[in-house]
Symmetry: C2
């Protein structure tokens, strides 16, 4: 009899103090046990790496329980069913799930759903037609609620969420200003994604360039970054502006960053709303349908940075926290 097949997994083994590091993770091999009745097994093809994972590594009060130590890191995955004792799934099905940082997922199928890869590539279900896409859709349509002619700004504009925010806002008839880190990302945001302007916050003139790029000021802002970027945008908001607070990645990996001039929220009568898209599951079908159609018809463009092999997931994740990725950060597992 052959050896039992092996699964490779990445566990969280310690919590970061300050910056996260590769020492917080450990790669282990575990045997794959035979399926029980009702279970199925998926060979994961891609793992999604997302900023929210940094929050789970800490045990500070947040919207979700912290990731347990010495367990497989949480994460979205897409893959193919390779074995099934569950009547709802058959071998060969392409599925989206939350199997985490591992090569195989075994479960009773809860939370797993099959997807059609005829017109939409499998990996896109972790990006524009997955959680990041729905995040963009929700924050834009339910918090910013843009009207044609509004100016909408978005930070991390070349990223998995920001790129979708801007393209949807353009489709809604808005003037769209991106904020991204570096000239290359900014060029992509304008030339490929079709934003009206993109400002390289690393160039150090964010406030002045915002003023030039948004002469009528900003009606809606989709925030992924926080910190000095939010401080620069706030004074450029129009009265009754809406800010969808999706992420504050600039403060994830260390001390919390203050907001310098909160009084503007009052003087401009702004609405600022934090959200997490998993609390709005009732809207996912509508959002995914629209996003899937846009990707299938090439109206929604996206870009991926793909790390090869589970063993490189920690390094890729740390790079994501520093903005080293360009577009959606994935790990190819096969």
């Amino acid at each position: 009899m052959a050896d039992a097949q092996k699964n490779r997994q990445v566990l969280l083994v310690s919590r970061p103090e300050g910056e996260a590091s590769t020492d917080n993770f450990r790669l282990v091999e575990t045997p794959l046990l035979p399926l029980r009745e009702g279970e199925l097994r998926v060979r994961n093809h891609y793992l999604s790496l997302d900023p929210y994972m940094r929050g789970r590594m800490s045990d500070a009060k947040s919207y979700a329980a912290p990731q347990a130590l010495n367990e497989v890191m949480i994460g979205g995955t897409v893959g193919e069913v390779v074995e099934s004792r569950n009547p709802k799934f058959k071998v060969g099905d392409n599925v989206v799930g939350m199997y985490g940082w591992q090569e195989y997922g075994t479960s009773d199928g809860t939370g797993l759903y099959a997807v059609d890869t005829t017109h939409v590539p499998l990996s896109a279900y972790l990006g524009p037609v997955g959680m990041p896409g729905v995040t963009a859709w929700y924050g834009l349509n339910r918090i910013i609620e843009p009207k044609a002619g509004d100016t909408v700004a978005v930070s991390a504009a070349s990223g998995a969420v920001g790129s979708v925010v801007g393209q949807l806002a353009k489709a809604a008839g808005c003037r769209v200003i991106g904020i991204a880190g570096g000239a290359e990302k900014c060029r992509y945001v304008v030339e490929t994604l079709g934003f009206d302007a993109c400002i390289d916050y690393k160039a150090g003139h964010l406030y002045d360039e915002l003023k030039a790029a948004a002469p009528d000021d900003i009606d809606g802002y989709f925030e992924n970054v926080g910190g000095e970027v939010l401080d620069a945008v706030l004074p450029r908001m129009n009265a009754h502006g809406r800010i969808a607070l999706c992420g504050m990645i600039s403060g994830y990996d260390g001390k919390p960053l203050p907001l310098q001039a909160p009084r503007i929220l009052l003087t401009q009568r702004l609405k600022l709303q934090g959200f997490i898209v998993s609390e709005h599951m009732e809207l996912w079908p509508q959002a995914l349908k629209e996003l899937g159609e846009r990707v299938a018809t090439k109206k929604l463009i996206y870009r991926e940075t793909i790390a090869q092999g589970l063993e490189n997931a920690p390094e890729a994740f740390l790079g994501l926290l520093r903005g080293k990725n360009f577009g959606k950060q994935l790990v190819k597992l096969i």
Copy 2:
């Protein structure tokens, strides 16, 4: 022929740099000119002093144009019509208007409205049945939207706005926590206004006392103060909490105060909304009707601090900015 009757007025003559001072104001006497057709004249009985006036003294970007220099300071007034060439108003009418810091108001009646003082004292139309009351009503009902059983907190709890917020929230079935400056104000808030608890922020244990007073944390917060009070409340907000941002008086008279941990807005998915009640005039009739009935039936209790004489208005206003008033700050002009 007798001398023309005199009006006394307080003008803004300079803008504060840092703290406002009495030097920013000047008391002048001007003659009262004969009325033209369509005009009326009001002898103002009370002038309202309100924190928003500090904003108008500066020329920073805000929701309203700055107060012009060398003109009568803006302000709400109540008084009696003493002369009328306007068919809509007759001598003896009690009226509410915006005649500013002066003893007499002369106008064509635009923005002026007559009120019934049978069951509601005239001065209350500058407090619980006026702009401060509607401010409380709007922020509570339209932004916080409390449900029975919610915990609602309010800063400047003994003030013209805060006292109404808390009493309306109690009537809506909420647990209500006040924050005020000093033991005397806190005693009044609990014993007279009927709040469940009141914390003296000057005692220096705001965060810990909030935790004790609101064991189920806070669902709705009505903010009049900002600064360290907001910093202490924010970590005690429940998920999906709502913050009505009405004022940030702690930062009005100097440097803007940062918000130390804005990330909580994200992790707790809070909604924070700034507002100014004059942008919601369509709701005033409904709010004033409810507030008037509550005052007339003694279900809504209020307190006034009354300075005597226009010449004392600047000093009283500076005291208001430092929390020296207890309840609604008025100036009696007659």
